[in-house]
């Protein structure tokens, strides 16, 4: 029983950064912008988040640093891809490469330092409940926040007028523009939200997961977040399933190895990615006609006065 609880806790911790970053990217892409710079924004968020926490001793301030760093990075993207109408794919890739380098520079002074990780919730009486106590009442703040975040994103996209307008920009920017909506301004906000989430997701790694900073510590999680958005076919509900599924497969394959299950570890390491491909195929087969992606995703929009 204890082992099951331990596994669930590890799964939640492994899934949280993916869920946060993917939520931001989902909103960004719903507005019609493809920002491939998630990995770059995450790693800069990790460096700044750790720096903030290390300098001030506060995890909360560290998280804020991460968010602000992510927003600043996303503004570079917005300036290029929205303001100057540069190709979004190229800009996003450039942002990642830039971010990996920049984070090394920012983090150079913190390498080898350590902080105490984010505190976990303790509610006397509740946290001690076997099996579910720690899972429900003993997580760090990031885990609870990530769940609130995705519910908030769902509510915004599907239950508010602003969310409807944002989705309209993503599906047909010409019509949205004709109706008088400021497409580029809306998209800029969406990109900034994506940056904030990526920065926070990056900051989660040195603030709660492994409380030190090392260049390159995001190790490709930004790319996984991007894949998750496609996996979820741009739907918040499926995004939650995808993120936890991904985390679960990652953790379970490690445990399977520890128990000596005779499946090659290389295969098990590849399982999460294989699962993504299979789900993508299933989703596209189940749907009749048309893509599930926002129709204007990745296309440049220049308003014609």
């Amino acid at each position: 029983m204890e082992l099951v609880e331990a596994i669930i806790l590890s799964v939640l911790a492994a899934s949280t950064p993916l869920l946060i970053a993917a939520t931001g990217e989902l909103v960004t892409e719903r507005s019609g912008v493809l920002n491939l710079g998630v990995e770059g924004m995450m790693i800069v968020g990790a460096a700044c988040g750790f720096g903030g926490a290390w300098l001030t001793g506060s995890i909360f301030i560290g998280a804020l640093f991460g968010i602000v760093a992510g927003i600043l990075m996303s503004l570079i993207f917005a300036l290029m891809a929205l303001g100057l109408a540069v190709n979004q794919v190229a800009t996003g890739l450039a942002l990642t490469i830039f971010g990996v380098g920049l984070s090394g520079l920012i983090g150079a002074g913190f390498v080898g330092e350590r902080i105490s990780p984010a505190a976990h919730l303790t509610i006397p009486g509740l946290t001690e409940i076997p099996l579910i106590g720690h899972v429900l009442f003993g997580e760090d703040g990031f885990v609870y926040f990530s769940i609130a975040l995705i519910i908030g994103a769902w509510w915004f996209l599907y239950r508010t007028r602003a969310g409807l307008i944002l989705r309209a920009c993503g599906d047909n920017h010409v019509s949205a523009h004709a109706l008088g909506y400021p497409v580029l301004r809306i998209r800029t906000f969406a990109v900034m939200f994506g940056g904030a989430c990526a920065g926070l997701a990056g900051a989660y790694l040195p603030l709660a997961y492994t409380p030190f900073f090392i260049p390159g510590m995001t190790a490709g999680r930004g790319w996984i977040a991007l894949a998750l958005v496609v996996f979820a076919s741009w739907r918040p509900g499926r995004l939650v399933v995808g993120a936890y599924l991904f985390g679960a497969v990652t953790i379970l394959q490690l445990h399977a190895q520890g128990f000596g299950v005779g499946i090659p570890s290389q295969f098990m390491s590849a399982l999460p990615y294989l699962a993504t491909v299979i789900v993508l195929v299933l989703l596209s087969r189940a749907r009749t006609g048309g893509s599930t992606a926002p129709a204007a995703l990745g296309t440049v929009f220049v308003p014609d006065r």
Binding site: L205, I214, M217, H255
Partner: protein
């Protein structure tokens, strides 16, 4: 042997950091690094060695390094860049630079190359590596003494001979203390991913391991062990900062003396292509101070270290028994031959797991 650090972005990334002093006729020595110099592990130790080299011979040489150089075709360009910049001796410090180094070496016969952990040589290309399994043997003794549960946790990177021989040396040593000792092995299939290394350490501890050993590069596992009140060994460099009450010891790569020796040879004009595979006796690596253990365990470790250094103790002393209970053919007289260790692809008796790919 090393593999790429960053999975996706690294392929596109060639961050060049140049550190050069100006001098007219000083010998130029170049270094190619796999990771950032701040990785606290593999590349960091090579950088420390370069600094030691500069300290020793700084008035006669000028050094340059390129960090974050991905293994593969990009490496060839980076090595060639160093050649064109006038470097006469170039150290390429990761396994994956083997073929690129050889290719550039053939093109520039007047430049000398030193490749770490590879097996391909030429008249102007040497190789060098360390017998890390000696250090693993000492760790095995300590682990068996310190483990209360009798279960060791081992985080492997890739099932290559260097890592497999480390696991075997650990278990051969541990069995001399506790014949029933168990090891749980998790392959991370990466050299560097702090999150995944932490997950692997958590999984091992959750399954009952109380001493964690790793053959991956970040201090994440050490940090998790420290959080959970368990014990662990560092890797490549000193990691005690991440587990002041956790680290038992760490195998420290100390390339400095070798670099100094080879550069001196180059300066004297006596450099020639060689294959160096050094151990504790030739100071290719060192053991970090033995900490967080009682004096009797410390003594066992120190005695073993002294015996290995003196050559009276060999971790792979025959008979070495394989998993199937059969003795491994002894090609090196009293011990397994170097070639058998360098190509080790079997587990020894007492490891319940199955070696991937077997």
């Amino acid at each position: 042997m090393r593999k790429p650090l960053l999975a996706l972005a690294a392929g596109l990334l060639l961050a060049g950091s140049l550190s050069a002093a100006s001098a007219a006729d000083k010998l130029k020595v170049g270094f190619i690094y796999l990771g950032p110099i701040g990785d606290l592990g593999w590349t960091y130790q090579h950088e420390l060695a370069r600094q030691a080299l500069v300290k020793e011979l700084g008035d006669k040489i000028e050094t340059t390094y390129l960090e974050n150089v991905p293994e593969g075709p990009d490496a060839e360009r980076a090595i060639e860049q160093l050649v064109r910049a006038g470097n006469k001796l170039i150290f390429t410090t990761s396994f994956g630079y083997m073929d690129p180094t050889l290719k550039v070496a053939k093109k520039y016969p007047n430049v000398h190359f030193e490749h770490a952990t590879g097996y391909k040589r030429d008249k102007n290309m040497s190789t060098y590596s360390s017998k890390w399994y000696q250090g693993r043997y000492i760790q095995g003794l300590i682990a068996a003494k310190m483990s209360k549960s009798g279960v060791l946790g081992y985080i492997g990177s890739f099932p290559i001979p260097e890592v497999v021989s480390g696991i075997n040396a650990t278990m051969i040593a541990a069995q001399t203390i506790n014949p029933n000792i168990k090891v749980k092995i998790i392959w991370a299939n990466t050299w560097f991913d702090p999150g995944k290394e932490a997950d692997a350490a958590k999984a091992l501890i959750d399954q009952g391991a109380d001493v964690i050993m790793q053959h991956t590069d970040s201090p994440a596992a050490m940090q998790i062990a420290s959080e959970r009140g368990k014990l662990a060994f560092g890797q490549d460099s000193e990691m005690i900062k991440f587990g002041p009450k956790t680290q038992l010891t760490s195998i420290l790569d100390t390339w400095g003396p070798y670099y100094i020796e080879r550069v001196k040879a180059e300066l004297d004009g006596t450099w020639k292509s060689e294959d160096t595979w050094g151990g504790l006796d030739s100071h290719m690596f060192a053991m970090a101070p033995y900490t967080n253990m009682p004096d009797d365990v410390k003594k066992i470790a120190e005695d073993a270290q002294a015996a290995i250094t003196a050559g009276t103790l060999h971790p792979f002393k025959c008979p070495v028994v394989g998993q199937d209970g059969k003795e491994i053919e002894c090609k090196g007289g009293a011990n397994l031959a170097d070639g058998q260790i360098l190509g080790m692809n079997f587990y020894v008796k007492g490891i319940d797991d199955k070696l991937p790919g077997k």
